[in-house]
């Protein structure tokens, strides 16, 4: 099967500043060692058609989506949402085949959690690279919430994560790549 029991998908487009929050969280999480039944995927803009419509409910039991959410809080604040809390059209399939939302289809068979972060700036339709400071600072907390949600041992991983951050890895996002 393509996707294992637990799927964590970071959604959003890094070309629109804070919209790259989801992929940035995934990039950080790729440095952790997680159990084999967990997949962490940089979904980009492809979430609806590459992941949500391709999950097999007999294998996958938990889907965690990391994305931006505008819920009127201070930028960088994190919230946990259910599919029911989403405004209509939030994850409409990009192909909008019957104007139905794939998450609505799977929510009864798969446990879906959306972890949303309040953005400071989304620059659509202008391109801009890089997260704002508030949203960048929300990444460790988000990872903590995700690990808690999937039940991975809290203390050790977080310690590792803090060490990783001290080495400056969080700032790596796309800026200091070398050949």
């Amino acid at each position: 099967m393509l996707y294992p029991e637990i799927v964590i998908a970071g959604c959003g487009n890094p070309l629109f500043a804070d919209d790259g929050f989801g992929p940035a969280v995934i990039e950080e999480m790729q440095m952790l060692s997680l159990p084999d039944n967990v997949a962490i995927i940089d979904a980009g803009l492809g979430g609806p058609h590459f992941i949500f419509t391709l999950l097999d409910p007999e294998v996958t039991s938990k889907l965690i989506i990391v994305d931006l959410a505008d819920f009127g809080a201070e930028p960088g604040t994190i919230t946990k949402l259910r599919v029911e809390d989403l405004p209509p059209g939030a994850y409409r399939d990009a192909h909008s085949w019957d104007l139905a939302e794939p998450l609505q289809r799977i929510k009864d068979q798969i446990d879906v959690t959306i972890i949303g972060c309040q953005p400071a700036k989304v620059t659509f339709p202008e391109f801009e690279l890089g997260l704002s400071e508030e949203v960048q600072n929300a990444i460790p907390k988000t990872i903590r919430v995700i690990l808690e949600t999937i039940g991975v041992d809290y203390g050790t991983t977080i310690k590792c994560l803090q060490e990783e951050r001290q080495r400056g890895t969080a700032e790596r996002c796309g800026s200091t790549e070398t050949r």
Partner: protein, 455 residues
Amino acid sequence: MSKVVEISPTTRHEGHSKLVLKVNDAGIIETGNWCSITPVRGVEKLAIGKTPEQVPKIASRVCGICPIAHTIAATEAMEASIKCEIPKDALMLRHILQLANRCHSIALHDILILPDFYIPGTETKINPFTPEEPVRSVAKRIQRLREIGQTIGQISGGECIHPSNTRVGGMYRNCSQQAKTKMYDLAKEGLVLAHQQAEFMIAVIRNYHRRDFVDVGGMKVALPKTLGFHDQGYLATHAFYGSSSLEECPSWDPHRFKEARPWDWYMGEMEISLEEPRYPIGGTTKIGTKVNPQMEACTGIPMYDGQPVEVGPRARLVTYKFFDEKGTQGQNVAREMEYQDCFYEMIDCIDALNPNGKVVADYIPDGDGSLGWATNEAPRGCDAHMARVKDWKVQYFSMLVPTTWNFATCSKALEGAPWQLAEVVMRGYDPCVSCATHMIVLDEDNKLVAQKLIQ
């Protein structure tokens, strides 16, 4: 007296586009305008000053459907500019990745067009989500094909959506012998399914186009035998993969390409004078609404040898395999005919792949600022990227994405069709609109005249 009808937004494809149609009293399209209404984004500007490693990553984020084509085309454009030849095994991995993406994409397109068609021998339109046979097993097959495509893509490309394994100079890592065997097994399974799927789809497509009348939202519409015919040319650069300026005999020439401004091409300001509330989904635009495709269109009109051309599966089959069927029917059939070829080719590439071979070029030059281009035959057509790299910095980058080529060609193909079937014609092009927003315009002397103004 001609009337104006607008279908906005168009459905069952990626991105936001609309159709503005001038129709005669019988409802036949006299002039059709299909245009993207996704605002312009300046990927070309953003790329300047970045390293060649970063730009393919930026390019892959432009669109959610074909990140693989954009990654490969952008990477190869960089390699073409710095004149770096990649090892054969790296190329094989890229071929496999490309074909895996096509395998997923055709399956997805099948789901999107199926609701237009009938179950052969009945008057029932196909609902791909119904739990009843025979559609249920087709839907399962489509899902399995998509899974196979994504899994093979994940193995060869590193990640299944935005491939992380490609790099300027080749690939980061080769796959293991076990991974090669797994890809081979999956491809063999996929080949059988692709055969079945193509046969089913071709039967359904032929059945539809043999009908005299078809149903659209409860309206009985006469189906012309020339639905979607046009006299524009075709552009394809390879039977399945692509070409680049590094090749001895490149199959694309940037000098034959020119771009016209949308305001020279599309219709000007008009008022909607025909409204049809029965049209799915939610009816057409209300009478009295003002439309202005000239100003609303977000793409230029790319021309090859002075005219818009068609890109995509039929263009590939016409150019390389003597295919001669025209219209929407020919287009959909061509796409299905590519399905088995896609797996045959993939199996050949997996055979040729040596898991112990090197996948990174020994020497990666820094670039001297010369123009390099690469094309990649994305599922929906030719994706051409051009770049200039000097001292490991990108000086110039431009993307000519598949659906941009097709906008003007499809607009021509709409002429003569009943307006209710305009979306059927459009879906034949498997449009992916959101990345089709490249907007640097050249005038007749090939000078840069304007960045698009949005009003």
